[in-house]
Amino acid sequence: MFTEMHSLYEWAWVIPALPFLSFLLIAFVTKRSKGLSAAVSILAILCAFGLAIAIAVGVIGSGSEIVKHPVITSINWLDISGLKLNFGTVVDPLSTMMLFVVGLVASMVQIYSVGYMHGDRGWSRYFAYQSLFAMSMLGLVIATNLLELFIFWELVGLCSYLLIGFWYHKVSAREAAKKAFMTTRVGDFGLLLGILFLYGKYGTLDFVHLAALMNGTAQGFALAGGVGYITLTAFLLFVGPIGKSGQFPLHVWLPDAMEGPTPVSALIHAATMVVAGVFLVARIYFIFQHAAPGALEFVAGLGAFTAIFAATIAIAQDDIKRILAYSTLSQLGYMMFALGVGSLTASMFHLMTHAFFKALMFLGAGSVIHALHEKQNIWDMGGLWKKMPITGTTFAIGVLAISGIPPFAGFWSKDEILSAALQNGHPIIYAVGLFTAFLTAFYMGRLFFVAFMGPEKKENHPHESPYWMTVPLIVLAFFSTVGGLVALPYHNFAYYVRNYVSVNGVVSLEAFAHEGMAWGLAGISVLFGLAGLVLAYMTYVTETIKAEAVAARFPGVYKLLKNKYYIDEIYLWLIHNIMDGVGKVLYWFDIHIIDGVINGLALVTRGGAGGLRRVHTGQLQTYALVFFLAVVVVFLAYTMGTGQVSALNPLAMLGGVK
């Protein structure tokens, strides 16, 4: 199976190439025809998805062979002294899983967009951006080296910027796009520094080479203080994921990014781009393993903090998309701390199931917003389940999945993360995770019960969305239901998805074997999830507990949560008072010192230029004179230089003697 499929894997580059082609086609050819643009875009992503499925089937069939020998196809991009860079694709279980997830969600979102973006003036532009994004994201997951990954990383950032600000006539959209771009830039800068640090030390950015080098020199490093260097590098590299995957304190851009069209939020800001940070950490997991233990503990701690921090904010939000955005942040924290506690498999598993159910819920939210003519406050909704049965039912599946209720997908992955945390000796993180699971169930329950089951509002006339939108919902609901079953022993997700470089260079299958279902722990987390849902039910449906009364009893806490811990305000204060001050000082320095020096230099240069120009008189005689004079001068200089003064003697010349 492995050898037969090998040639297929070498064609993995076609997967990102197809959406790119469609981007070019839309931008240069079909942009005037709405139907053609959408058709080209959807056709391209569906073909790419088909190819991703073919590769996935092959990889599953190849078994452990592909884990030991990931298929790397690359061409030399740049080869100049001191810098050798390749560009290529890697097919291994990790990239295959990502290809499948990205391909699935991207195709569903594009199909959904046909219904959602109906009648939008920027239709072709929208699909062009969607294609560009699909290209960048698919390219990112199969990158073979850090620089290649970084290029695609920046490209997805660009697409995110373009799509958040898609309705650029709205001030809030423009501001949100800028905020997202600049906040993630902070992270990207750290990532770039980390990449340069790596290159400076190892001279390669190739994942496989780096892993081999690190494994080979692990002992030597410990002696030469290399651990410190690697730890620093690991921290710098991790700054990128902090920005991209919205970890505290760079999470502020993600909720604002909801200004973009809802399918965009589903694709970019829930299922794919924001998990790029998690994916990156998984890709370079070996660096964290070689770094000081503090690095992974930091990842775990920050992830757990983000998880609970965002979950508490989500409780007090009223905008349906913002609730989902904070929920995404919280779940990203989950994935991060899963990596931190040492379970790459659990993290990737949760990444996959989360992509299914979060994309589902975002698209469901989009369907609701579409039906209610851009109303986003959950208190303006109510009774939607009856009017929109497909949206309501699929959304319910999403809620059950994220709350960790079996047999839906979220149950399996969440349980795996929690049991990994406990079994690898992180009881505090386990407790935080468990409590977050409770909070998650509560705020998702609140969202669902208020929006879908609460009393109907007279002024609303909702109706079910068209098939373009409901079919993707059904497909995603299907995956949210059964997607978790791959964790069952005989499917053994862990067997396939792991990093191809394991501990100390020895690829051992056992090392990453499944944690196994800890049914006791699973029971506890299901109880917490159910408790959250029940509490939400009692509060918002039967109203046994009065939400207003609770809020009134803890006004400070409620206000704090409602205002998202005032993080944005703190940043604003910092920018106004600290950054602006520093900026003024630097501006003065720039204007008076640096520009002064440059202007001085320029003046000298221009003066020299003016003098030299005068030599060019336009007179033929002058030119001939200079030419012959130059011959004489060069000859003199040459003879002087070689000490052959005798050459000046005409007799010696005539004789030509040696």
């Binding site: 100049i80 002294s81 003016g610 060019h616 033929l620 030419f627 230089g641 040696k658």
Partner: protein, 480 residues
């Protein structure tokens, strides 16, 4: 043996036939039906280009005609360069030449004949063969530069080029005769073997004469004085061809003569120092004097003088890496310069002016032309990700590898200076008003040339490896 020898010079024969055919067709066709000349010329050259590319990769290499002529990848590389440049010149100048009343056929025939001369220069293994090629090229250019009979500046440039070119040829031929007198041979390999390691006054004199003659062609300071006036006065397509192809041909000869002949003698110490100083001077003078220029052709002329300085740096590096750098840079220089000149030609014929201030607001009036001009000058300045950056990187890293770090610093600083005057053109195009100037829609062959050169400049900058590999194999075929 003879038949294989003639097989080796198939491109040269084909170019000669094409030139004669163009003369004949231009005479036979009636006045109104001369439009067919451009396609005939372009497709003829394309066919020869395709054959040369094939020959580069698969041809059987070796010296031919009793060692008077080289048939190697180095020569083929330059032939590809000349043919590409010629095709681009013809395509970009169609509208420009279309305005001329007559003599059109002769223009194309002469251009093609000049290519033949360049090809002979790149391939010659003998100083006399080389000289014949050089004169074929130069005499053709005398005519081409003064091609506009009713344009005073063109005629003036033609006369100037004739007088100065003849002087330089005389010096060059004098140098060749010295060499022959000293070694009894005109073949490069024979000269190299005869010169030995000692350095005598006559050898110095011969060397300086050769340097002056060749330096004139590559516009090496202080033999560069002719260039700005001729570039400004000549018809713009001729300027483009002169700046790109003629210079490259002279560089082909410089590299051959320098590496094959002069490395045998104790030229190295002082000679290299002298060449380094001249290269530095070329970079400095070319870039500094470009700053106050107000005419786009004159600006490009000084810029091309500066570029010769960069190329000279690669020659001095005297290694595979250096020659590879020169070859690579010469090729990308074709595309960058042809892009700039295509815009200059087109805008010049549309507005009747080559002054930079008349480029004001070009970004609005003709967005494509402005974009191509910007990409071209930024590539010439060596800004990544455009091709010029990689080219300069190859050149300077080669010379640093040989230990001449200071010249690389001169190059860096002068590249920075060059950004200033290149960007001042961009500034005029993008920030200037130009309210009373006409819109210039670009179409036809000129549009193709512009887009093509820009795409190639961008592509090579992003993915230089294929061209670099070609340059390496060409360089290794020369430097064993």
């Amino acid at each position: 043996m003879v038949s294989t020898d003639f097989l080796a010079i198939t491109p040269e024969i084909a170019v000669a036939v094409l030139a004669l055919l163009l003369v004949a067709v231009a005479l036979l066709l009636p006045q109104g039906a001369r439009k067919g000349l451009v396609p005939l010329n372009v497709f003829g050259l394309l066919g020869i280009l395709a054959y040369t590319v094939y020959d580069f990769f698969f041809g059987k290499m070796g010296p031919v005609f009793r060692g008077m002529y080289y048939h190697d990848q180095f020569a083929d590389f330059f032939k590809i360069l000349f043919l590409t440049a010629a095709i681009l010149v013809i395509l970009s100048s169609r509208e420009y030449i279309g305005k001329w009343p007559a003599y059109r056929g002769n223009f194309y025939a002469l251009l093609t004949a000049a290519i033949l001369g360049m090809m002979i220069m790149a391939s010659s293994a003998d100083l006399l063969t080389f000289y014949v090629g050089l004169e074929l090229m130069t005499i053709t250019f005398y005519i081409l530069v003064g091609y506009l009979p009713h344009d005073g500046r063109s005629s003036e440039a033609g006369i100037k080029y004739l007088v100065l070119g003849a002087s330089s040829s005389a010096i060059l031929l004098y140098g060749i005769s010295f060499i022959y007198g000293l070694t009894g041979s005109t073949q490069l390999s024979g000269i190299g073997a005869q010169l030995g390691s000692s350095l005598t006054p006559p050898i110095i004199l011969a060397t300086v004469f050769l340097l002056a003659g060749l330096g004139f062609k590559i516009s090496l300071v202080p033999f560069h004085m002719w260039a700005p006036d001729i570039y400004e006065g000549a018809p713009t397509p001729v300027t483009a061809f002169l700046a790109v192809a003629s210079k490259a041909a002279a560089f082909a000869a410089v590299i051959r003569i320098y590496l094959v002949t002069l490395e045998h003698q104790s030229f190295v110490q002082t000679g290299v120092a002298l060449l380094l100083i001249l290269a530095a001077l070329t970079m400095i003078v070319g870039n500094l004097v470009a700053i106050p220029q107000k005419n786009i052709k004159r600006l490009l002329a000084f810029s091309s003088i500066a570029q010769a300085g960069y190329l000279m740096v690669g020659v001095i590096a005297e290694s595979v890496a250096g020659v590879k750098g020169v070859l690579f840079y010469a090729m990308i220089y074709v595309f960058a310069n042809m892009g700039a000149f295509a815009v200059a030609t087109y805008v010049g014929q549309a507005q009747g002016s080559d002054e930079i201030r008349d480029y004001a607001g070009l970004a609005r009036r003709s967005p494509l032309a402005a974009a191509v001009m910007t990409a071209s000058v930024l590539s010439l300045a060596g800004i990544p990700p455009l091709a010029g950056f990689v080219g300069k990187f190859y050149l300077f890293s080669a010379v640093i590898h040989q230990g001449y770090t200071w010249i690389a610093y001169v190059g860096f600083v002068m590249s920075m200076v060059s950004v200033y005057y290149y960007l001042s053109v961009v500034k005029v195009m993008y920030l200037g008003e130009g309210a009373d100037l006409p819109d210039i829609p670009v179409h036809g062959a000129a549009k193709f040339t512009m887009v093509f050169t820009m795409l190639i400049t961008l592509f090579i900058g992003l993915y230089p490896t294929p061209l670099a590999q070609m340059a390496i194999s060409a360089a290794t075929s020369l430097v064993k």
